[in-house]
Symmetry: C2
Subunit: 207 residues, 2 copies
């Protein structure tokens, strides 16, 4: 597990892209693929692909290519497919509920154990996931839970501080505000506005 620290950040961010592409290829019946083909599929240079793969070992065969299914297995294992991460959703509004319904992705990296909302009347169950009032989070926080999905729209920083205090080390952040975290906590921003801003910029630049 330690050696993985050597994997470049940039490579790490491409792993999920490969995994998704490979899943699609497998569904299409493709059993074997070469870096050149995969390149056209994901818009990443073949050399980059081979290099990225090589960090996980010699996954391919010279003169042949890569076996799709075994690649998927390897990436699955590598990316936490065998982990059983406990996840919580904080904020059971529209978006939070939509995510709870996205159970498609449960059991891939782990599962959503429960959700919290500041409004006590939201407590109950949504798509079979229990929702608790936020002020019960001390008791209800799942043991060993390190990752939270944040979909609240008020008292954001306070809630973040609370989560970190309770052991959260990774946050998927759907809020629209800036949040401040200590260096040992990772945040993945999901900000549609920012993405559109980048898109506007890029599509302008192309013209």
């Amino acid at each position: 597990m330690d050696k993985k620290t050597n994997v470049p950040k940039a490579t790490l961010q491409r792993f999920p892209i490969y995994l998704k592409a490979l899943r699609k290829l497998e569904k299409l019946g493709v059993q074997r693929i070469m870096s050149r083909e995969l390149s056209e599929f994901v818009n990443i240079e073949p050399t980059t692909i081979r290099r990225d793969f090589s960090f996980l070992g010699s996954l391919g065969k010279q003169g042949y290519g890569y076996d799709v299914t075994s690649l998927i297995e390897i990436f699955d294992g590598e990316l936490g497919g065998n982990f059983h991460e406990k996840l919580i959703i904080v904020g059971a509004g529209n978006l939070g509920k939509a995510l709870m319904n996205y159970n498609r992705w449960n059991h891939v990296v782990g599962e959503i154990v429960c959700a919290f909302d500041i409004a006590p009347e939201k407590a109950g169950e949504v798509y079979q996931i229990p929702v608790y009032p936020l002020d019960q989070i001390h008791e209800k926080m799942p043991e060993g839970c390190r990752i939270a999905i944040l979909t609240i729209s008020s008292d954001i920083q306070e809630t973040v501080d609370l989560l970190i205090e309770l052991g959260i080390r990774g946050i998927v952040d759907f809020t629209h505000e800036h949040i401040q975290v200590p260096k040992e906590v990772s945040v993945k921003q999901v900000d549609v506005v920012s993405m559109i801003q980048e898109l506007v910029f890029e599509t302008n630049a192309i013209k």
Copy 2:
């Protein structure tokens, strides 16, 4: 507009972070800030910040720092705050609706003109945004619309192809599958699973 092409990709991706942080600072009553302070706020090195800012001109004053409000204005303009981008949502399910309700971000880069869904019975209006059946997209596609938010869960690639054919050049992709696009089209992935996978990896590496 052309010179902006020189702005490094990496810098571009930080602009939205700065903008959000500055908005928060302004709300907190901060009028003036130095790169060192801002650094602690956003976890980016002061030098990197100064360098990033310098691509937009000499925004600060030596021995003083930066004026928060004028920074915000500059970033706003830079990031499309003055653009009037027309956006569409494709897929009016749970997630699509949640995003329509997120009107907070309307008028920041533009506005959501309408939405489409493959199920004709979903047609109507959601949070004052008209929803049309997908097969009417040829007629109802807004003039000059280049950016689409994709929240569908079936016929994904086909829909993507259709959108591109109709002039879409940027996609915010909430689907869970890999999609294939030509090089002139940009895709911003919003994949919670991938994010959690990265988080799992990072939080493991830290330990």
